[in-house]
Symmetry: C2
Subunit: 430 residues, 2 copies
């Protein structure tokens, strides 16, 4: 029987392993860290799982957190101008609530699920030099985690590096002392030209807390936070975040209890930057065997639209379905078809994310968001399409597409908002 | 609202038009001929509709012939050696019976269905020079029929012409005076190096008759039929077919009533040859608009595996689904995604058909068929996969794939059959 080796036990590798296990396809998971090591580690991201990812979790029987998240439908979107004045606001409802969840807990739990169901796990780091031996042991090797030469095994796509450098400096962490916005949900707070701040209800150690993900455009209004490293000066870091809230996002500062505000634990903060990169979905080893790429190995997405974990999960299922449909020989023909199916999903997430990363924000994106402020249907669609990146990219891929969409949905001609014009949808809460 | 213009009212154009009509997308069908003109015309093909096509007909509410076909599950496959001796025989059951149906009746009926449901039909030939005007009238134009420059609008794929000339001369017609093989079903009769004869229960004028589709390899044992044109000498044509049955397919000759054997009507015969060709699924007009290709316009398949009509129907639904999913602007991005989905289906039908057309038959195909003769599971799978060309192509795309399949399904090592060795599955009827 077909045997699949999966290198890396992030959400992509785990969803694939659990999917194959559920369909009686022997799979071995090569995990660098044990569950205990993961739980003791640093915050890896502040991912949000959208509806389709939650449906996949349900299908895999790993939807352990449903009851703690089912009230998080609302997404507040605010645009700010100078001096923290909100210029536009809209609120959309997710048809299915997203879950912000700590991946130390999430991946540990799923790894234990896989083990408890009889799954085969091999611990320890796998290097690119180990792949030939793995490819002899398995019919197919899927690489879903790795660094350096492991990732570079997969050729960068010709259109896979739209920017030469990171477009945001990312600072994310779990905070005590900040209440969620009401009605409870996440908020997206945008300062054009300076960056974005995401406030997320977040399941982590000790229950529900708040994650603040700041996406900083160098040289903008949020730039100070870029240069303050938590591990070098925790007090100054927390003070800088609080000052940023007061100065740039005063509505959020109102939710802060200054007596306890700050990063929850030293491990609960992550600062860095990534350059969006898309790689080919498969590669050939020197021994002639083919290996597939999954998750961050094939697609590095800026977290600004929360597409990374969701794309990895979607692709894990696409790959699992491809394995069930045809598992005679994992040759180039197989890899090319599986890659095409994954890329069809990945491309929309990648292109849409990169479009929204541009400075200044492209005119059609501004137009769409401005319309959403006065049009609950457009707002609802934009918010829900975070779960269906192709749908938002279909609308934003060209000016003609955005115009066609807005014409059809009654947006009509749109004039840019003037300063201090706090537009809102009928459903919004200012 | 989106308006779609569909040029050509064969099975592909009709299935797309009916699909869009069912989903309230305005569609105009440009049909060269009226229903009455079609009914009076020449036999266009002797297509068989496999299970998935019948499911699509059911979804469209045009499954008018179910009751006349539900006993046609059996497919008899015979291989012949010298002097009409059968060397191998197997019988497979289609899970869903195929229907052989006269497309003069079929397309006329579906055209009337479309009209009766309020469909918009414009009669008359459409030339390539008419496309710019149509592209101004509709949001998307789909070209599903055409000749010459209309077809050449769509670029031939780099791998879209595997043979420089036709691999078979095709002679197909509807016959009186030949009974179906029992249990009732179709029979595939192969003479390696000379060609194939398909005996099909066929719904046509006056009810169920028998179609004989002969695929002639020039220079082989069936070559005489290639040079006899029915319209030049009907008596000699009928006599040549009968002589071919007696000489090369004596089991079939036993089913003939010589007193009435022959082509039913002068319009009920078709002789010709095609060179398998795959073209790109979309093209740009000089006015900048994009048009899509459907059916024979993008893929010309030899009928040896009965994939043409089924592929056109499958692609009509893929195109319809693509139109429902995204209909903001039918730009190059839209066309490329829709084409990729269609080509994923088309490629398997095309590659598998061309593989089976090769002379001599490739070793792995011989091995698979030889195994089917002694292995009912392999026989059943091979027969049913006519409805799922990707599945058979997955098995036949390389020797390694065929070996993996046969190893898994207990075929074991296979020795070529010796002359006169009339192998059969346990379920076969000799």
């Amino acid at each position: 029987m077909t045997s699949i080796g999966i290198v890396g036990a992030g959400i992509g590798g785990l969803h694939l392993a659990l999917y194959l296990q559920q369909h009686d396809v022997p799979a071995t998971l090569y995990a660098e860290l044990t569950s205990q090591q993961r739980l003791a580690g640093r915050l890896p991201n502040t991912a949000v799982h959208w509806g389709p990812t939650r449906e996949r979790e349900h299908a895999l029987g790993v939807n352990h957190w449903d009851e703690q998240a089912d009230d998080w439908c609302v997404r507040h979107v605010h645009f700010y101008g100078m001096f923290g004045a909100r210029t536009m606001t809209f609120t959309g409802m997710n048809d299915v609530p997203g879950i912000g969840i700590d991946h130390r807990i999430y991946t540990s739990t799923l790894l234990e699920d896989f083990l408890a169901r009889g799954g085969d796990v091999v611990y320890g780091a796998v290097m690119v030099g180990d792949l030939p031996a793995l490819s002899d042991r398995h019919d197919l090797v899927v690489v879903s985690a790795g660094r350096g030469s492991m990732v570079e095994l997969f050729e960068r796509r010709s259109d896979g590096r739209p920017f030469t450098e990171p477009q945001r400096f990312i600072c994310t962490g779990i905070f005590d002392g900040i209440a969620p916005q009401q009605p409870i949900g996440s908020s997206i707070n945008v300062i054009p030209g300076s960056g974005e701040l995401f406030q997320l209800p977040f399941l982590t150690f000790g229950g529900r807390k708040t994650a603040l993900l700041t996406e900083i455009i160098p040289g903008g209004q949020l730039d100070e936070l870029r240069t303050v490293r938590y591990e070098q000066d925790p007090v100054r870091f927390n003070a800088t975040v609080l000052r940023m809230l007061r100065t740039s996002f005063p509505h959020l500062a109102e939710l802060v209890d200054e007596n306890i505000f700050g990063i929850t634990r030293a491990e609960d903060v992550l600062q860095g930057a990534i350059t969006p990169t898309a790689r080919r979905g498969y590669a050939q080893l020197e021994n002639g065997k083919w290996v597939m790429a999954l998750g961050d190995v094939s697609l590095v997405n800026d977290p600004v639209l929360a597409q990374g974990a969701n794309t990895a999960s979607a692709c894990a299922f696409l790959l699992g379905e491809a394995i069930l449909a045809d598992n005679l020989v994992f040759d180039e023909m197989w890899c090319a078809r599986a890659e095409a199916r994954m890329w069809d999903y990945q491309r929309a997430a990648f292109e849409w994310t990169n479009h929204m990363l541009r400075t200044p924000l492209p005119g059609n994106a501004t137009k769409l968001i401005t319309t959403a402020c006065g049009n609950p249907e457009v707002a609802r669609s934009f918010i829900n399409n975070y779960a269906a990146p192709q749908a938002n990219w279909d609308i934003l891929a060209s000016d003609a597409r955005t115009d066609a969409y807005l014409t059809r949905h009654g947006g009509g001609p749109v004039t840019p908002p003037s300063a201090g014009d706090d537009r809102a949808t009928t459903a919004s809460t200012r």
